[in-house]
């Protein structure tokens, strides 16, 4: 009697978690909003110098002004375009070479030592050479960004393929997969979680390198806005630009994550299952 009741009792836990995240995201806002308000108050009360440390209201006003004049969108698009191009080239090169060196021992023996050596060069050190080769315009900028994006993707994919479970590779062999089929149907899917992490790291580096690229001479772009702000001593412009980088970096990272999620639904790790 008691036993059947217990078995027949409905499971209470299943519905609860879905109602949770509705307010949870707001928790992440508490600290930054408090800091911004405190900062605003500190400037208003004259505790800190508002010229070098402009309060959030001034930064937002500057941003608004830039947006109204149509300048902001030009800079944002210029920077986005460079990051996008550099990212795509870096990803393609990193993926092809990473898959090749991960799969083929001969390719690994021939290419990996060289790539590892190149990796130990700080990427910014390439700037003078790239300018010499490609001029100071778009090509050298995109090349620099692609260089930054390339390495984490190459490394992660190559390693992830090397460490794919031999037992799964055997499943491919027993089904008579050809080399490219093995790469496409077993090695790449198995490496996908590490690959996605690497893509996000690569995108982060892309945003880092676009600043360096735009520092080396640009007439538009958020990096240009930074330099311009420094030249004219306009701290609010610098901070507005930084704010744009933060928002764009976060949004593009989230976008990449969201694009990858459907391909990673099968994962069974801590935190990947709701």
């Amino acid at each position: 009697m008691a036993l059947t009741e217990r078995i027949a009792a409905p499971l209470p836990a299943t519905a609860a978690p879905s109602s949770r995240p509705s307010w949870r995201w707001a928790l992440g806002l508490v600290v930054p909003v408090a800091l911004a308000l405190g900062w605003e108050a500190a400037v208003a009360l004259g505790w800190v110098n508002g010229r070098l440390l402009p309060p959030p209201s001034r930064v937002l006003a500057t941003l608004w002004g830039l947006a109204l004049s149509g300048e902001l969108i030009v800079h944002v698009l210029a920077t986005l375009w460079r990051v996008a191009l550099g990212f795509v080239f870096g990803v393609v090169a990193g993926t092809v070479l990473g898959a090749l060196t991960g799969y083929a021992p001969l390719a690994r023996a021939m290419l990996d030592p060289m790539v590892q050596a190149l990796r130990s060069i700080p990427s910014i050190a390439w700037v003078p050479l790239f300018i010499l080769w490609f001029g100071i315009f778009e090509t050298s900028k995109v090349t620099l960004i692609a260089t930054g994006v390339f390495f984490p993707i190459y490394l992660a994919l190559s390693d992830a393929i090397l460490s794919v479970d031999r037992k799964l590779v055997e499943v491919g062999r027993i089904h008579r997969l050809s080399g490219p089929e093995l790469v496409w149907r077993i090695l790449l899917p198995a490496a996908l979680p590490s690959y996605v992490t690497a893509l996000r790291a690569g995108l982060g580096l892309g945003w880092m390198f676009v600043v360096a690229a735009e520092f080396m001479g640009a007439s538009e772009g958020l990096g240009y806005l930074l330099v311009d702000g420094q030249m004219t001593g306009a701290a609010p412009v610098i901070m507005a630009s930084i704010l744009c980088f933060a928002v764009l970096g976060k949004v593009t990272d989230r976008l990449l994550g969201a694009l990858a999620t459907p391909f990673l639904r099968w994962q069974d790790g801590f935190g990947t299952r709701r």
Binding site: K167, E170, R173, I174, I186, A190, W266
Partner: protein
């Protein structure tokens, strides 16, 4: 007919895993291979499957030598080895890439129904129990309608009840289109319940110690006294195989096959 002639395998590490193996399996026959761990059972299956190349000798299926994996030869490993990024249906259909989509789906769903997992076609491997996952692995091997099905201790990781269930189930599947089966196991009862013929291997290097054809009628009952008697006899044989491993010498000549 599957035949193995003078088959031996020495791994690059120097281990002689298998030596001078001769055996023949008739079409539709169920052969069990028993022996302690390390006596080359997996090596034998991998050679027959074409996953390893023999050091000497050959494997011949219906007149043609097996040198690489073939569609007519299916292999089920000890672990299910499902691809975690594919659903159950996609896993089962993994090897059917030449077939048109509709035909593939029909074949996959038909096999899934036969292994009793029609309702789990869209599940992810992570959501399956051990027994269910091994059924999917079985379905993946069966969907290609192999003439030879090799099974490497397929149920040894499962609990006893699930194991009994899957043994009975395997027989039902076998009766459907009667593939030749070679079943590696270290469970004597499993061998007696399933097989027509049983070969006992002895280790270091792996070779045939004895072969038996118990001649039990089907369907078999695990508590049948005749089966129990065979069990005692085979246990004695295995004990011998362990003794010869300990002393490193052959105490009795291997029985004729």
């Amino acid at each position: 007919m599957l035949s193995v002639q003078d088959l031996s395998k020495r791994y690059p590490t120097g281990t002689l895993a298998l030596t001078g193996m001769d055996l023949t399996v008739e079409a539709g026959e169920i052969l069990a291979i028993v022996g302690g761990s390390g006596c080359g059972k997996s090596t034998l299956l991998r050679l027959v499957a074409g996953l390893e190349t023999p050091t000497t000798g050959s494997v011949v299926l219906d007149g043609t030598p097996v040198r690489a994996p073939r569609a007519e030869i299916g292999l089920v490993f000890q672990e299910p080895r499902l691809l975690p990024w594919l659903t159950v249906r996609q896993n089962v259909g993994f090897g059917l890439r030449e077939l048109p989509e509709a035909e593939r789906r029909r074949r996959v769903d038909e096999v899934l129904a036969r292994v009793g997992l029609a309702d789990f076609a869209d599940a992810w491997p992570r959501d399956l129990s051990g027994g269910m996952a091994q059924r999917v692995a079985l379905a993946r091997a069966l969907v290609a309608r192999p003439r030879v099905l090799l099974l490497d201790e397929p149920f040894s990781a499962l609990d006893a009840l699930t194991r009994y269930d899957l043994q009975d189930h395997l027989l039902q599947l076998w009766e459907y289109d009667r593939p030749t089966m070679v079943l590696v196991t270290h469970d004597i009862e499993e061998a007696l319940v399933l097989a027509d013929r049983i070969i006992v291997l002895q280790p270091r290097p792996g070779r045939i110690q004895a072969a038996f054809a118990p001649g039990l009628s089907r369907p078999r009952d695990r508590t049948d006294p005749a089966l129990e008697a065979w069990k005692r006899r085979l246990l004695g044989e295995l004990d011998l195989s362990f003794k010869s491993r300990r002393t490193g010498e052959e105490q009795f000549p291997a029985a004729a096959i």
